[in-house]
């Protein structure tokens, strides 16, 4: 899954570097608040461990062997932020020192494995094991599923990155310039190996290690891992939320800037745009025409009909959207609070 240099276009690499930088910045900030100065040795040593773990060859059904990446076990022990950093550092050393994975594609590799993998593993493990009665068997199964799903999610993202290359980057004759296979070839080609072999290796090593740690060092599974992450979450408290709210408010105030851009996204607002002067289709497909009028939004084009001023309407739509999300969040939080109260 380590993408070498040359498979992805420079613009794809730059986009995924930008995504990864965002992930690294947030993770580093959170980890430093939780672990303080302890972050550097803990992440470094765990990154070294992940690196060595990737060298463990595991016997798999069918007589073949595979290796794990250690995404899920890193997430379970360090929490998602710690895992993002530890796996990213391990991948950086693999690329810079051992030539495993490219330098221009390091952002993509870190995004797929460290960021997507850690977040997916965290969500899976938390949903299946961290809540409820902390049953040991349930934890092992949850760890295996988290490992399996995380590695497959990473593989799927990698496949999508490969698959969009021929669509976006080809010469005038249609010859692909980077990874040559479309999504319908790239996705099955990547996923078959990961759904069968690599996924099993990741699930087996994660489950085996959780089972071992339950007997030998259960503190790693509760106190230092998710426990620290959860404690850190509480310690972050209002300070991080305040920053988030300020940033959201600022973005809402700045939303009218979107009107400065000329034109609209092609075909986004109405089916008629597809066959207009700038459209490529001569006739709008009948299915598209039929479904286009299926739902009429209350604030079409972010311009409520009852507001005369376009910038104000745009900003109001932004506030309405954020408000709606806030209400949904409050409903979920209330439900979660009631559930926790019942469990106590």
């Amino acid at each position: 899954m380590h993408i070498p240099d040359g498979y992805l276009s420079p613009s794809t690499c730059a986009t995924l570097y930008a995504c990864s930088v965002g992930g690294w910045y947030t993770a580093l900030k959170r980890v430093k608040r939780v672990f303080f100065s302890r972050a550097i040795p803990l992440i470094s040593v765990f990154a070294a461990f992940s690196f060595v773990l990737m060298m463990f060859n595991l016997p798999l059904p069918g007589g073949t062997t595979g290796h794990a990446v250690g995404i899920a076990i890193a997430t379970i022990v360090l929490g998602p932020s710690g895992s993002i950093l530890a796996i990213s550092i391990a991948l950086a050393i693999q690329a810079l020192f051992f030539g495993d994975g490219g330098i221009t594609t390091l952002g993509a590799n870190c995004f797929n494995m460290a960021i997507v993998g850690s977040l997916v593993a965290h969500v899976c493990y938390k949903a299946l094991a961290a809540s409820g009665d902390r049953n040991p068997k349930r934890q092992i199964i949850a760890a295996a599923i988290a490992g399996y799903v995380a590695i497959n999610a990473s593989a799927l993202f990698t496949a999508i990155e490969f698959g969009i290359q021929p669509l976006l980057f080809h010469d005038a004759m249609g010859t692909p310039l980077y990874a040559p296979y479309s999504l319908k070839i790239a996705v099955p080609a990547m996923m078959i190996g990961h759904l069968t072999l690599a996924g099993i290796a990741e699930a087996a090593i994660t489950a085996g290690m959780v089972a071992f740690l339950q007997k030998s060092n259960p503190g790693l599974l509760l106190d230092k891992g998710m426990g620290v992450a959860a404690a850190g979450q509480a310690a972050l408290g209002e300070r991080s939320l305040r920053g988030l709210w300020i940033a959201t408010a600022l973005l809402m105030v700045l939303t009218p800037l979107g009107i400065l851009a000329t034109g609209t996204a092609w075909g986004e607002w109405s089916a008629a745009e597809l066959s207009g002067s700038g459209g490529m289709a001569q006739v709008v497909p009948s299915g598209l025409q039929r479904l286009a009028s299926f739902w009429t939004a209350p604030f079409p084009r972010y311009a409520p009909s009852f507001i005369k001023s376009e910038p104000f309407g745009y900003a109001l739509s932004g506030m309405f959207g954020v408000g709606l999300l806030f209400v949904v969040y409050l409903l979920f939080a209330r439900r979660k609070g009631a559930q926790t109260g019942r469990e106590r």
Binding site: P41, V52, M55, L58, I93, T175, L213, N217
Partner: protein, 270 residues
Amino acid sequence: MKGHTAVEATLRSFTRALSRALISEEVAGRRGLLQALDPRARLIGILTLVVAVAASRRIEVVGVLFVMACALALLSRVPLKTLVLRVWLIVLGFTGMIAIPALFTTPGRVVMSNGFLSITAQGVLTAGLLVLRVETAVTLTTTLVLCTPWTHILKALRSLRVPTEVIAMLAMTHRYIFLFIEVAQQMFESRQSRVIGTLPAGEQRRVLARTAGVLMSKSIDLSNEVFLAMQSRGFLGEVHLLHDFEFRFRDGVGVAAFVACAVVAIWAGR
């Protein structure tokens, strides 16, 4: 011994990693073209060329860059055998396998056909461009890594404004990788020396998972010890690195030459 294949394969991968590190140290100590430049000039120069390789859309341009990369490696006294075995054959095997179906699946002008399968000119171009591009990029990065000690790469990364915390983590991770490889190697060898006959696959998986678990517990303990040692030396979360590099006139010329080549390649390969 048949049942020990997974453990043996793991041991072999440890040995391979250690031998690679040894080769790297040996080549970095030689007197060559790249070694004569400041590590920052090497890093910026090679990274610029790798970007040019990724950005070039014409196979002829990537071909010229490949010849330049080979010349640079040989003038930097990277052994030809290392290049062939560690870079060219591995890339050819891996990327070549991925690229082969593109010969048949890419639509275009048919240049060869046996009635059942057809190779198209566009397919040959796509597969050739992919393989050549990856060969060139990996030759360049391997040359950089082999000719530059890891500590120098880290200091050079710092000059590219990579945060000091990240540099410190990379440095410590690199140091502990070799320690953990040694520890894991000893654990596997001691286990193997106590086994008679063959272990079933399930038992092998359990051995590997247990070893990984022990290694992780050791990792956490070690991180506690390292942290206490760092604290005893006055570490408060701030990382300071020494900067003893000297950027000379020839380093400027080197960077200018690399950047000029990259710009010309991007322009010609657009």
